[in-house]
Structure formats: C-alpha cells, structure tokens
Amino acid sequence: MRFVTSLKELLAHFVHRERLVLLPLLVVLALAGLLLAATGGLSVVAPLVYTLF
C-alpha cells in the first residue's frame, strides 16, 4: 500500500509536458527492476537477456 502511494507520486511527477519524454525509459527500467525482483536475481534472468540481444 505504501509503495503504491510513492508510485502514484512518481507518476504524477513525470506526467508533465517537459518530463513525458523520460517516461518510456522509466517504464523500461521499472520493468527490468520488476523482472529482477520477481525472479530473484540476475542468474535467472541472464539467459533470457542473452537471447534477446
């Protein structure tokens, strides 16, 4: 619940005409972070990332 408040405030900060350009980068970073957190670390994600690139 607490994290939701921060994420809402973060979104509110970046949903701004001058800052919108940063949103895609932020989303990619957040998804990468989520993936790492959900899978428990780089060792699990590494083969997937290797295949992608």
């Binding site: 607490r2 408040t5 921060s6 509110a12 970046f14 940063l22």
Partner: protein
Amino acid sequence: MSAVLGLSGGYHDAAAALFVDGALVAAIHEERLSRVKHDPGLPFRAARACLDLAGLRAADLERVTFYEDPYAKLERVLVHGLRGLPGGWRSLARGLEVQLGQKLFVLDRIAGQLGVDRRRVGFVRHHESHAASAFFASPFERAAVLTIDGVGEWTTTALWMGDGERLTQRSHLELPHSLGLLYAGITAWLGFPINGGEHRVMGLAAHGRPTRRAALDRLATLHPDGAFTVDAAAFDHFRDLTRGFGPGVEALLGPARPPGRPWDLSDPADRDRADVAASVQQLTEDAVLGLAHAAHAATGCEALCLAGGVALNCVAVSRLAAEGPFREVFVQPAAGDAGGAWGAGALAAVEAGDGRPAPLTHARWGRPVDPARAAALASALGLPARRVDDPAREAARRLSQGQVVALCAGRAEWGPRALGQRSLLAPATDPAMPDHLNRVVKLREPFRPFAPAVLASHASAHFDGAPDHLTPFMTTTRRVRDPTALPAITHVDGTARLQTVTAPAAPTLHATLSALHAAGGPPLALLTSLNGPGEPIVDSAADALAFLVERPVPALLVGDLLITRPGGGPP
C-alpha cells in the same frame, strides 16, 4: 496539539527536528547517536530521540516532512546521467541503482520505520527547506534569503524573499553551475573528503596567496548580474559527480594531492596547494558577494539570511557582512544539509497553521547529558570522580593553570560547531596550545586553527566590531585586536572565528568565562569540539568517558561531576 517532524538524510548529515505547536522542541544530528561522522543514512535514531524528549509517540505526529523531493531527484539523476553517456554509463547505472533501489521509496521507509501513516509523510524541495531553516530561524520579519550549496534536486543556488510566514523563490541557478560543487571539487583535488573536508580548505587558504586565481577563473566565470557558470566538463560532473573533479582540473592545476599524505607547508608543492586553496576561497567570496549584491537589488531588503553548505564558509560570510550591501546578516548554526530537517519541520509547522517558530537564539536542542550515568561509568572504569560545588569555577581554575578541560553540560548542540555544551576548553594565551591540540589530542593537520569563546559583554575589547546575529553561532570571523596576547586562537591571517557567549545561550560556558575573568584573566578561552579524530562530537556520558579514556586530556566535567585522568594533572 500539533506535532510535526522535519527530517534530512540519505546523502550526508542526517538530522531530525521536532516542532510542537509551532515551537522547536528538539533538533538532533543522527551522527551524534549513531557515532558515524556525517551519517549518510536516515535519521531514525534522531527522530526517536526528539520524540522521547517531547514525551511523544510517532502516532502523535501530525506531519513528517522530508527535506527534498525524491521524484525530482530521480529525474535529475536520469537526465544528468543521460547527458554523460556514453562515458558516464557506470555512473548512471550506479545512480539509478541507488535511486530506484532506495531513495525513490524514502518516504515509505520513513513511514514504515517510524510507524506513521504514509499519508502523513511528505516532502519539500531541498532549497526550500534550506531557505526556511535560514529565514524562520532568523530574527527578521522581512529578509532576502540566499541558499547556496552543491545541488538539491536541480537547484544549486536560489534567491528567496522571506516575508512573515511566506517564502517566495525569486530566481535560481541549476546544475552544473554550482559553487558548492566547485569548492568540493577543489577540496577533493587537495586530498580532503567531500562533504567534510571543505572547512580544512578554508583553514588552509589563510596560509596561501590567491596566485592561482587566473586558473580558477578558467573553471568558473562570475557574471555582472551575480550569476556564475562553472566548466562542468573540467570537473567531469556529467560522468561522475562523486569524485569531485576531472582531468580538466588536473590539467589546469596539476595532479591531485593523494589523500592522507601529511601536510608540510615548507614544501613548495604544498605551498602551491595552499595558494590554490586561497584562490578558490577568494573566488567563492567574490561569487557570494556578487550574489548578495544581486539579492539586494532584487529585493530591496536590509537583512539577508544564508543557508546551504556554502553558508558554513565563515570567512566568506565575514567578508559579506563587512563589504556586502546588507545591514544585517544571519546564518543559523546548522546551515548545511542537517539544517534542512529544521527547515522542513518549520515549513510543516507553518503549513499546519502553527505560525513560524521563534528565532533561534541558542543551539542547545539535543539530548541532555546524565552526570549519574557518567559517575557509574567512571566508577566501572576506575577513574577518579567527584562532585564539585561550582563546575564553572573548577574549569576556570584548571584553565588558569594552563590545562585543557573537557566540558559536557546540559543539552547537546544543534549544528556542526560545539558551542559550550560539548566542548574542549584551553587557555587562549598559550602559543604552544594549537600544536598540542592538533598533534596530540585531535590528530589533525598542523595548519588547522582554533576558535575562541568570549563573553559577549567583553568581545569588543578583544575583537573588531560588536556582537551581532552571527557571532553567537561561530558563523563569522573577526580580526583579533592583539594577536600576540591571544596566540592560541589567532589564525595566521590575524582573524578568529569567535563565539560571543551570553548566559541564556550557554550557561555553563558563560559561568566559566566569567570565573576566568573574576580570577584576573581575559574572559575568553580557546574552544573546540569535544571529539576525537574522525569522530562526531560527543553526545552522551558514555561518549564523553570514551573520549577521556582515549585522548590525553587531564579532566572532564560532566555537569557537576569532575572526572580526572590518572597522571593527567592535579585532581
């Protein structure tokens, strides 16, 4: 009842300040409790200590305010890092890891650790908290406010207008044009730590001449409107903000001095570095004066408040007070980032409708020391300890005999200066004393000066000018009238960073200086912080005893308890 808590931290100098019904109740640096110098964490110990002093629980807090905007800070790290690509990719990755992994969720951590509803936890901008700490602590109803530091979210320097309970930003400068980062860069180039070594550069500057100013002027340009621009490429700020300087600085000034190498000012290389210190100090003073003239023209105010790390440069403040356009100048004792906690709390109090706090007239806002605890510890350690009827007279007697006395009285100080609550006192007339304290007690560079504390009523007899808003907090310097009479506290340039002492502000220190005067001596003493090398200032009785055991100081007074060190002087 309305209780609001201001917090700073997560970078350096974490602190907490508690206001109840608009009145300051406690303000504490985290480092004094954690014993980690310039503690970079979050101030949970300090916050709980503030609540304990007020007899409150976290659930009683109406508002908790953090001193900077975590989302704008993430934006800055992102944009700044992108500008530094491709060379600065490591710095960007490290910055994002810290921001996304910890700092982005700082308000959640605060809510969770303190047990406060997350909806009660908010933030103000970094320079707004600095401005509030300067203006709301000042005695002025209307004043210009300058905030000058390394960097907040984006802002490095800002001009504010303070009027009653309102603070309005008038203009600002953004990264990379930062006077604080410029000074920090030269600090790092000289081999001193950033965010902790800047005052050493200021002390070293008096030993040099500003012969390298032309080189410094290639790193920063001062404009006629008070603004300045900094050559960010030379400092490598886009690639790495943590090192402080880049190859461009070394190309201009020469190779950086390795940290930790002993200083020898008879060595031409070290003399040249002292000249660089003098040059950056002069540049900083000129920049601050330029900003002050611009602030005066823009606001028409007669009073100026300063905050931010650069405001701790007491030599620049002294020149500003003497040569600047303002009739009155005020710098509160914790002008650096710790003061952001005070400002954030004061802003929350004003927003809650509690009005602006009373002007800050003393620095005794920390935890009280417990003589009974000191007695128990002294007994356990086998140290001779006894109660004395008049601790001030005992301290004065020992000072008259040429001894160093450690003084621990009442509540600890707010701000980086020891102001008579947790201080080491020594005779100001002993020319050998600075060397003894630097080499034996404090283990620091031989060029570091020591400050005097003088009865406010007698200050003008020993120092130029009268006491003002700056002198009670040691945030300015004054010329010593007779340097030969006071060699221990006179810096090489003939000045001293004096503290003028009144009974309400520092009762024990005032009584000690009065006793010295009554005994026929000058009503002043050398005063330095009570701490060992690399340590935060002593806070508790246990810290004070640890200092006495470790350092060769003959006597420690904790309240009315006198503890002596065997073989360290008369009991």
